[in-house]
Amino acid sequence: MIPVEHYVALSAILFTIGGVGFLVRRNVIVALMSIEVMLNAVNVALVAFNRLPTHNNAHTGQVFAFFIIAVAAASVAVGLAIVLSLFRIRRTVRSDEADLLKN
């Protein structure tokens, strides 16, 4: 059986990749996708921990992951709507052009 640490390590790697992607990429769509990567990483960790014998077959982690998926769906929907809106205003999807707050 695979030790849970492996899953956690995988989760950490995915999370880091997603985080770095979010920070480095300026394409808003890609940034959103990076966020999805991070959320998925978290899901992996949660589901893995849920397998630990200390949890007595409870579904806590899985339920949590389920809700995260729901929230991710919502965030993507709104996020992409914002991307469209931004594109309409600035004709770009580059996040560093989206500095309307600055002025």
Partner: protein
């Protein structure tokens, strides 16, 4: 069994990491979306290995079926503008942040692995879960009993998200949404212009 399990895990893990790297690294967002799809599929595989069959299904349906498609849809809608040329603006802080973030992530992982109790890692593995762990039945029982309120709230959240998405994406005015939206935002940046009628009331007192 054990060996197959390892192989399966590592294969899925490898694909997941590759997919993630593809998502993050691809110049073309379409490729990024494909990478995301790859990662999602791999993770769904991992979920199966973790006795989370229902979740794996949900992962496929919601992520692969809805979210990735939505991404693709938007990318298509934007066309060539979706992929942006790189420039140097804000690159250094971004790289520093990314570096810090990466270092932290990896450091946290190292710390975790080094400090976790050795006894829990072992070849014996965990006992298989009893009954219908991870199945739709079991999941549904929990969702509709203990988790009913959050579940209903999540539906409300999705509702709100849909309405919000429609409202945001639709723009302000039906006629010429692009220009008028920009114009409104510009107008709001002009100080006080919008408040003129309100302050007038206060000033009238000074009139003798």
């Amino acid at each position: 069994m054990s060996a197959i399990g390892y192989v399966y895990f590592y294969a899925c893990a490898l694909f997941a990491v590759l997919g993630a790297l593809g998502t993050v690294g691809a110049k073309n967002p379409i490729r990024g979306a494909m990478g995301l799809l790859l990662m999602i599929l791999s993770i769904a595989g991992l979920f199966l290995a973790l006795h989370a069959q229902f979740l794996a299904a949900i992962q496929l349906i919601v992520y692969a079926g809805a979210i990735v498609v939505l991404f693709l849809f938007v990318i298509m809608l934007l066309g060539p503008s979706a992929s942006t040329p790189s420039d140097h603006r804000g690159r250094i802080p971004r790289l520093i942040g990314a570096g810090l973030f990466g270092a932290t992530g990896l450091g946290a992982m190292a710390l975790l692995v080094s400090s976790s109790p050795k006894s829990t890692i072992g070849p014996t593995g965990y006992p298989s879960p009893t009954g219908d762990f991870g199945s739709v039945d079991a999941f549904g029982r929990i969702i509709f009993s203990q988790g009913l309120v959050p579940f209903e709230l999540s539906s409300a959240l999705l509702m709100v998200a849909i309405v919000g998405a429609v409202a945001v994406a639709r723009g302000r005015h039906k006629s010429d949404p692009a220009i008028s939206g920009a114009a409104t935002l510009e107008a709001e940046n002009v100080p006080h212009a919008g408040q003129a009628p309100r302050t007038a009331g206060g000033i009238t007192r000074e009139a003798p």
